[in-house]
Symmetry: C2
Subunit: 166 residues, 2 copies
DNA sequence: CGATGATATATGAAAAAGAATATTTCGTCG
DNA sequence: CGACGAAATATTCTTTTTCATATATCATCG
């Protein structure tokens, strides 16, 4: 086996390739499944940004809350849970933690006193601002490699999956 | 307000619509983000099947393991974790539970004794068989409403997102 | 009005996941 | 050969999540 200057990094690459190959072997099987491809795509697209969230001391569920409230402040707990794709009890507890941090506030809905409306506090909006900017930048970064046509294909595909062909 | 026979179910529908509307209000915001759309699509596509998993007494991570091993038996723990989109320590614990249930076995890799190769036991394969058939059926069910062209669009979009435009 | 069933949120105990790190084996280089 | 850094898996401690259910309010109907 020839020794090269960068034997170590070459080896690292070889090992990564070996893992990719082992994973790939089943690729033809798993990758034919829509659920799997979507999970993989979702993970790839989100993981980069999720990694950056710790910079702002936000957990992923906390980010989701902030993200949802940024577009629709004053949602109820259940609505927020549905929008953030989590269960209601989990959302209640995420909100407990965020309330302790002073990021969100709870309001009783006057029209229906069972409902609890959630809003970002001033501190919450302040913490959210840079994160939301980063999210926008991440979005741009993700789409950068694609042509307008490709972007349209992607959006159309997701629209089909989410809203059906209606 | 007119009273009808199905006032109750009409009301239920009205409430669901109200929630959808509250959620929708922010739609124009959140739904412009690729990460969000992918997460939503992934959830929609997977949740139906995930709900059925309890029929077979399998958790979602257990299903993922079974699914991956079905296509590539004898993967290492790390490879399996990467393929199943979870961290290695989590995979180790999922495998602990599955080993206790007799679904999988651990083998030392003779070539590299750090690695632990995972394979389905006979019992595991038996438990897996109907689940994998159901997964296949679910896949067909998901794709049924779409034309061949639409399916191609979806696959192409996901391929772009996962493998880039290489 | 008052009972009854439904809906919205919260709670509590048990299970699972996360983060950091330990342990074992490898590969390389002196 | 032997030390040293890297890689694969396991473990430990803490936090989060899940599952089932409790509580409070609402809507309907007798």
């Amino acid at each position: 086996m020839p020794k090269r200057r960068s034997a170590a990094s070459a080896d690292r690459a070889r090992r990564a390739a070996a893992r990719a190959s082992r994973v790939k072997k089943s690729g033809s099987f798993a990758e034919s499944y829509l659920s799997y491809l979507l999970a993989r795509a979702s993970h790839i697209v989100a993981s980069g940004f999720h990694a950056k969230l710790k910079t702002w001391n936000l957990s992923v569920p906390e980010y989701r809350v902030v993200f949802c409230l940024a577009g629709a402040d004053g949602l109820g707990v259940g609505d927020l849970a549905a929008m953030a794709i989590m269960t209601q009890p989990r959302m209640t507890k995420v909100l407990d933690r965020m309330e302790r941090q002073g990021l969100v506030g709870r309001h009783s809905d006057d029209g229906d006193r069972r409902r609890v409306l959630i809003h970002l506090t001033a501190a919450g909006r302040k913490r959210a601002a840079p994160v939301l900017r980063a999210a926008k930048a991440h979005e741009a970064h993700l789409l950068a490699p694609f042509t307008a046509e490709e972007r349209a294909v992607i959006k159309h595909a997701l629209d089909l999956l989410i809203n059906g062909r209606a």
